[in-house]
Symmetry: C2
């Protein structure tokens, strides 16, 4: 019994992104200025982002056309394949039909180029030749580095220090694409110096690295703009090409998911596969259970507070309403994978509050166990992040076996683990441990939230 690939002809690749803001049952809470507590306007964001992305961030148009130049780059690896994982089904002895969308076929190895490419493009179009960003595990940094190389732009990446030291190969990938990579916290920024003064041994965090990148952009006088790889509305929207493709591919397979599973860090790959199916759900056409799986070590959706918070540790960003573990959150060193951000995308948070989606947190050992099963069955080594989605899908498939029902389970395999083999070595050597974020620490971190909103 062999796994089946559903190929989408290139001429059926979607030519527009889907903007869920057009269809939300209730609108998103506004983004607030931390000083005034008032909603931010385009001018507040103009130092950081090109105007086209600022417009997309607040647009309520249902579809936004993908520029032809972006489509051309997408076509290097898109449409990505959808697979029916029949060998995995056989291994699990389940009556479930398991489908996975594989985003690891992009040159950077994950879904991140779906937004890196348009972000670079819109900046370039508005005359910006230099981007600055942060990266944790490195998926985002390598994707933006690649996009910048394609459009002949410079790229600077602040890489969370613990990853910078543990993942020299991800760093090498970015440098091969021509980016300059700095360990964060660094002495290059005011924020970095402040943090190093207080915590000279700080391992860094996404929150800190974002502060450094935002500061560089804000101080550049417009020559350098900032790019974020998740969380923001326009980023999630760029990822909807994933789900739009799957909708057509499942038509070819003559099937429709009863359950969709995605892993969540900032929320972009999850939203990318899920939002187009929500359009169907909101319109009452078809119903699907939607499950977000996050790490127990960074449980923003399941244990964070739904509140206004900063997007970064240095409090340089506006305030957004989201599930948050507090902007000072630093994930534990023993957590091997990505998905380490303190907050969750406002759109995903909003959907959770509206009970449109479910969420659960999984410890990392169960996730690696699932990833190993998947690798043996399907031949693809998932990124540790994606293992959370694999775990969720396998658990649903096992439940189908217990209940003796055949459901269609769809999940997003957001990237491969070729640059994360150390985590697999550690797992197989019994060196990884589970970690649950202690309730007292959650409470303490949340005590520091801003009082606005």
């Amino acid at each position: 019994m062999e796994s089946i690939k559903y190929v989408l002809p290139e001429n059926r690749m979607p030519t527009a992104w889907y903007n869920v803001q057009a269809d939300l049952p209730q609108p998103l809470p506004p983004v607030l200025h931390p000083g005034t507590g008032q909603p931010v306007g385009p001018d507040d964001l103009a130092p950081l982002f090109p105007m086209e992305l600022i417009k997309q961030e607040v647009s309520t148009e249902r579809y936004i056309d993908i520029p032809e130049e972006v489509q051309q780059v997408y076509r290097q690896w898109r449409p990505t394949p959808l697979f029916r994982a029949r060998r995995l089904e056989q291994l699990l002895d389940t009556p479930a039909r398991i489908y996975y969308k594989y985003e690891g076929v992009s040159p950077a190895g994950s879904h991140k180029p779906n937004t890196a490419v348009p972000q670079a493009f819109y900046n370039k179009q508005e005359g910006v030749n230099r981007l600055v960003t942060e990266t944790g595990a490195g998926q985002w940094g390598s994707s933006l580095s690649m996009a910048c190389a394609f459009f002949g732009m410079e790229c600077q990446v602040f890489m969370v220090k613990v990853s910078y030291n543990q993942k020299p190969y991800r760093r090498a990938l970015m440098e091969t694409f021509g980016a300059s990579v700095t360990a964060s916290p660094s002495v290059n920024t005011q924020v970095g110096r402040m943090i190093l003064d207080e915590h000279p041994d700080s391992p860094g965090s996404l929150g800190i690295a974002i502060s450094e990148a935002v500061e560089v952009a804000a101080m550049s006088g417009g020559t350098t703009k900032y790019a974020l790889g998740s969380v923001l509305n326009h980023v999630l929207m760029h990822q909807t090409i994933i789900g739009e493709e799957v909708l057509i591919q499942l038509e070819l397979a003559d099937d429709y998911p009863d359950i969709i599973v995605g892993c969540t860090g900032g929320g972009s790959n999850f939203a990318g596969i899920v939002l187009p199916f929500l359009r169907e759900k909101f319109s009452g056409k078809r119903q699907t259970r939607i499950v977000a799986v996050e790490p127990a070590a960074c449980p923003s959706l399941t244990r964070g507070l739904y509140a206004y918070d900063f997007g970064d540790t240095g409090k340089l960003t506006p305030l957004t309403k989201m599930h948050t573990l507090g902007h000072n959150f630093v994930p534990p060193g023993i957590h091997a994978g990505g998905l380490r951000y303190h907050g969750m995308a406002p759109i995903v948070s909003h959907l959770k509050e509206l009970d449109v989606i479910e969420a659960r947190a999984e410890p990392q050992l169960r996730c690696f166990e699932a990833g190993m099963m998947f690798a043996k069955a399907e031949g693809i080594i998932p990124a540790p992040e994606a293992n959370h989605a694999v775990r969720g899908a396998i658990d649903e498939a096992l439940r189908c076996r217990e209940e003796g029902v055949s459901k269609a389970i769809l999940f997003n395999l957001s990237g491969h683990g070729h640059f994360d083999m150390q985590a697999y070595i550690d797992y197989q050597a019994g060196k990884l441990q589970d970690y649950e974020y202690p309730q007292e620490e959650v409470a303490m971190a949340l005590a520091g939230l801003p009082s606005v909103g």
Copy 2:
């Protein structure tokens, strides 16, 4: 200007491999038994290979059908894309049209699964449940491990010791697929113990690892068979799916190559893209220059002797006529990439003797320079092996610029470099050096060739 992908619909995937033995202007010299000096028969090979592969090895049928079970597995990543590298053309400012076939989209990251899958299949079909092999850089070992996992077979891999120590991630990949991996030379075999007695610090070589794997198969009483990832006729034939796909894809592109470039180690990826074009050449239909590029540190085609030699250091294999650096050859430690085998595939050697193909040797620094250019332009990090093909293609494109002619240049990008980032780090840090195999050493190694044939 964007690069263009030529997609081949799945239903146009070739269903037969091409056997060049049907069309060779002169037949291949026979494989000889080292004891008798007489041609070997099927019975001599039966302890090592399943009968179907032994038949394929000597077949003169023009086409051999790809079993449906193998096609099903192929379809997970095949047909692989053919790209027109327009961003690279732009970077080089060349009038040349550069095409590359990308085999790195396979789950194991190279062309090697094209033969690993049928080899596992034919063995399984004949009741064999365990395969043993060798690997150098790890491309072949991880591909066979994956194929064995797909067919529910055990896999043991002797990995050249220097790679075993330098490439823990490749090893982890094989182990994740369920294989057992042993550093070679090992104490597990008589050959390994002999070599360790004489050279306790031996870094290993492909020749030694082959001896160990062959010994394990030969002593197993038929429970374990041996699998080789290159060199043999049936292996090269399995790879012809590459070139067969390209022929159709170039029809879609309405173009035909003036020059084809491939990198050569054992010769299988080179043969895979080249042989179907040779069919066209032999039939007089169309002419194409064909260029093999090998490492200056392991220059079998350009500086080896065309003579009968053993395939392994321990002299356990039959004798084949090929370009060889001598079966005791150990490549220099400073050579970063694969392509380290002492011999060249008999078919490729034969074609070189017949002046059907050209060959050149390139030092590694020029190859990494080419790989870096390619990565920035096209977003894909080539395996160090594939960088030799990239170098060859870029040099031909630069010559087109000098001469002001627009030629079509096709090359095989045989795999990605995700597991080889240390070599890119070393290159960028200026730590790699060139090495040319000294003429005296060549002469000395060749003095030890067997006298038969």
